[in-house]
C-alpha cells in the first residue's frame, strides 16, 4: 500500500513541480500568473496531437513546450505592454483557452470533451535495475518518465540560476525594482516576458505529462485546477525552489492518498482542500512571526 501511494505520489508531483517552478520564476520576474492552467491544458492537447501525428514522444514534448511558451508570451504581452490586470487576465485566459480547445474538440473531432487518438506514443518509463526492487526507494525512483527526472533536476538548477547567475539577478531586479532595473539599462518588461515564456513552457510540459505520460487521452478538464495547486506550492515555498519542491511533493502526496482513500470512507473533497488550507496556515504563521519581530524591534 505504501509503495503504491508513493509511486503514484511521485507521478502526481511532476506536473505540480514543473508548473510551480515556472510560476515561481514568473513571480520573481514580477508577474503572478493565474493563466498557467491554460498553458498546461494547451500543452496537454498539443502533446497528444503531436504524439499521434509523429509517433515521437520527444517531438510531442518539444511541441508542448513551444505551445505553452507561446501562450505564455501572448499572456505576458497583454500584461506588460497593454497593462492588462494580471489576475483577471489570467482567469480570462483560462476561460478562453478551455473554450477554444473545447470548440476545436467539438468542431474537428466531433467529441464533447475527451479525445483518444490513434498511434499515440507515450512517454517512456525509466526502470532502474537494482533500485526497482528496493522497497519505498524503488517505488519513488523507478519506472518514472523523463519529465519527472527533469522536474527534480530543475530544482537545484533553478536555485543556482536565481541566486548565482547574472540572469537570475536581472530577473529578480526586474521583479522587485522595475525603476532601478531600468536605470541600470535593463529592459524589465522584456525580462518579464521571458520569465512568462519559461513559465508557460514548463506548464506546457506539465500538461504533456498528464496527456502522454499517464493516460494517453486528452480531455478538456484534464488540468483540473493543478496550476492552482502549483500556485499554492510556490506560495508555500515563499519563492525558494527547494521549499517549493517540498510543497509540490507534499501536495502530490495528498493527491495520491486521496485517490487511494476514495471509496474508503474519506471524502475526497475534504482532502482536496488541504493544499489551500496549508498555504493559509503558512501565510498566517509568517504574518504572526513578522508581527512579533516588528514588535520586538519596537517599530
Amino acid at each position: 500500500m505504501i509503495d503504491y501511494v508513493l509511486a503514484a505520489a511521485a507521478l502526481l508531483t511532476t506536473p505540480l513541480l514543473l508548473t510551480a517552478i515556472g510560476g515561481l520564476i514568473n513571480r520573481l520576474g514580477g508577474i503572478v500568473n493565474l493563466g498557467l492552467e491554460a498553458m498546461m491544458l494547451t500543452g496537454a492537447y498539443v502533446a497528444l496531437a503531436m504524439s499521434s501525428a509523429t509517433q515521437s514522444w520527444l517531438v510531442a514534448l518539444l511541441a508542448a513546450l513551444a505551445a505553452g511558451g507561446a501562450v505564455g508570451l501572448l499572456f505576458s504581452l497583454a500584461v506588460t505592454r497593454l497593462e492588462a490586470n494580471e489576475i483577471v487576465a489570467g482567469v480570462g485566459l483560462n476561460v478562453a483557452t478551455a473554450g477554444l480547445i473545447g470548440f476545436i474538440l467539438k468542431d474537428y473531432y466531433h467529441s464533447s470533451g475527451t479525445i483518444r487518438l490513434p498511434d499515440v506514443v507515450m512517454l517512456p518509463r525509466i526502470v532502474l535495475p537494482g533500485v526497482a526492487q528496493i522497497p519505498i526507494a524503488g517505488a519513488i525512483l523507478s519506472g518514472k518518465d523523463p519529465l519527472t527526472w527533469l522536474s527534480w533536476a530543475l530544482v537545484p538548477i533553478t536555485a543556482f540560476v536565481l541566486s548565482r547567475t547574472r540572469a537570475g539577478l536581472r530577473l529578480r531586479a526586474a521583479g522587485a525594482a522595475r525603476e532601478a532595473a531600468t536605470a541600470l539599462g535593463l529592459r524589465p518588461l522584456a525580462i518579464r516576458d521571458a520569465s512568462t515564456i519559461v513559465a508557460g513552457a514548463l506548464a506546457g510540459l506539465a500538461g504533456a505529462q498528464l496527456s502522454i505520460g499517464v493516460v494517453g487521452v486528452f480531455s478538456v478538464g484534464m488540468s483540473g485546477g493543478r496550476a492552482f495547486i502549483a500556485l499554492a506550492a510556490f506560495y508555500f515555498g515563499r519563492n525558494r525552489p527547494g521549499l517549493t519542491a517540498v510543497g509540490a511533493a507534499l501536495f502530490g502526496l495528498f493527491d495520491a492518498i486521496q485517490i487511494y482513500l476514495q471509496g474508503r470512507g474519506v471524502a475526497p473533497e475534504l482532502m482536496q482542500m488541504l493544499p489551500y488550507i496549508v498555504v493559509l496556515v503558512v501565510l498566517t504563521a509568517i504574518g504572526v512571526g513578522e508581527r512579533k519581530r516588528r514588535l520586538l524591534q519596537g517599530v
Partner: protein, 353 residues
C-alpha cells in the same frame, strides 16, 4: 504583488476619447478573435454574430432571458466593486457565491413550515451572513498580519468550492438523487417571478436595488468616501485619521455579504437547490465586469447585461445551429483578458521607452 495586481482597480474616470476607446477595446478584440475562429472553421462571423444579437436582445422573451442571466453577474460585480473601491483586491466573491447558494438551499429545504415571505428573507439572510463571516477572515489577516488578500481570498475560493462539493455529495445529498444535488427548496422559498410567464424573478429587482444603493454608498456615505480615499491613496487616508484595518474589515464583510446574497438569490430564483457546478465562474465574471465598468454603477450594469446576453444567446445558438457553445467562452474569456487594457496609451509609452 499588491501594486502590480491592483493596477487598474482604482482609476479615476477619464472622460475623453482614450477612455471610450479603452472601454470598448475588450469587446472589439473579442469580436475579432471570435470572427477569426468562426471564419477559420468555415462559418460567416457576421451571420453568427447577427444570430447571437437576435437571440440575446430580439424580443421581450429573449431580453428577459438575458436579464435573468445578467442577474448573478450584476450581484457579483457589485460585491467585488465594494472592495475594489477601497483598494482591496478581493477575488473571493466566487467562493462566497458557492457558500451563499448552499446556505440558502439548506435553509430552503429545512425550514419548510415557514410562510413564504419570511422563508425567503431567512434564506437570503443566511447567504449574506455566511458570506460576510467568510470574508471577515482574509480581512483580519490583511489588516492585522499583512497577509496579501489576493492570495488568501484565492485560496479560500478553492476551500469554499470543495467544502460545498463535500456537503452536496455527503450530508446534504438529496436521497435517491443520481446527480449531486441537495433536495429542492420548498416552493414557498422560491423567489417569485415578477411577470409570469417570464423567467425573470425578484432576484433581478433586488440586484437593481443593490446597484442603486451601491451608487449612493459610493457617493454619499462616509464609509463609501473613506473607501474611495483609501483606494486612491492609502497613505493620505491614514494621515487624515482613517482607521484602515477597520475600513478593510467593514468593506470585506460588506463584499462577502453581497456575494453570499448573490449565491442564495441564484439558488432561490434559478436552480431551486444547490447542484454541482453551481457557479460557472460568476464571481470571476463579476470581477471582470467591475474592472471593466471602473466600479461605476452604470458601467457595471452595461457589462453585466452584455455578459448575460452572451450566456443566454450561446445556449440557444448551439441548439439551433452547429456552432459549439464554447464560442461564448472564447468571447467572454477574451473580453476578460483585455478588461482593463490601455490601448490609448500604447503609442506614448513606446516613445517613452
Amino acid at each position: 504583488m499588491s501594486a502590480a495586481a491592483t493596477a487598474g482597480v482604482v482609476r479615476s474616470p477619464r472622460r475623453d476619447w482614450t477612455a471610450l476607446v479603452d472601454a470598448l477595446a475588450p469587446f472589439a478584440v473579442a469580436l475579432i478573435v471570435g470572427a477569426i475562429l468562426l471564419a477559420a472553421t468555415g462559418r460567416n462571423p457576421f451571420d453568427v454574430y447577427g444570430l447571437m444579437a437576435r437571440e440575446g436582445f430580439g424580443g421581450a422573451g429573449r431580453l428577459e432571458a438575458t436579464l435573468t442571466a445578467a442577474t448573478p453577474i450584476l450581484f457579483t460585480a457589485i460585491a467585488t466593486a465594494v472592495s475594489f473601491r477601497a483598494g482591496i483586491f478581493n477575488v473571493g466573491v466566487e467562493g462566497v457565491f458557492y457558500l451563499g447558494g448552499m446556505a440558502g438551499a439548506v435553509v430552503g429545504f429545512t425550514l419548510t413550515s415557514f410562510p413564504s415571505p419570511l422563508l425567503i428573507v431567512v434564506e437570503l439572510a443566511a447567504g449574506a451572513l455566511i458570506g460576510g463571516l467568510w470574508l471577515a477572515a482574509p480581512a483580519l489577516l490583511r489588516a492585522r498580519l499583512q497577509v496579501d488578500e489576493v492570495v488568501s481570498t484565492l485560496m479560500l475560493n478553492f476551500i469554499a468550492a470543495n467544502l460545498t462539493l463535500y456537503l452536496v455529495n455527503g450530508p446534504f445529498l438529496a436521497p435517491g438523487s443520481a446527480n449531486s444535488a441537495t433536495p429542492m427548496i420548498v416552493e414557498a422559498g422560491w423567489l417569485p417571478r415578477i411577470a409570469p410567464p417570464s423567467t425573470l424573478t425578484l432576484g433581478f429587482v433586488i440586484a437593481l436595488i443593490l446597484l442603486a444603493l451601491y451608487a449612493l454608498w459610493d457617493r454619499l456615505t462616509p464609509l463609501g468616501f473613506e473607501a474611495r480615499l483609501n483606494g486612491l491613496n492609502p497613505r493620505f487616508s491614514r494621515a487624515i485619521g482613517i482607521d484602515a484595518p477597520r475600513l478593510i474589515l467593514k468593506v470585506m464583510i460588506l463584499s462577502g455579504a453581497i456575494g453570499g446574497l448573490a449565491g442564495s438569490a441564484h439558488a432561490l430564483g434559478v436552480t431551486h437547490r444547490f447542484v454541482v457546478g453551481f457557479s460557472p465562474g460568476y464571481g470571476w465574471t463579476g470581477l471582470a465586469v467591475a474592472l471593466m465598468g471602473r466600479n461605476s454603477a452604470v458601467g457595471m450594469l452595461i457589462g453585466a447585461i452584455v455578459f448575460g446576453a452572451l450566456d443566454s444567446a450561446g445556449t440557444t445558438v448551439q441548439l439551433f445551429s452547429d456552432i459549439p457553445l464554447e464560442i461564448v467562452d472564447v468571447l467572454q474569456g477574451v473580453v476578460t483578458i483585455f478588461a482593463v487594457v490601455r490601448f490609448g496609451r500604447l503609442r506614448g509609452r513606446r516613445s517613452a521607452r
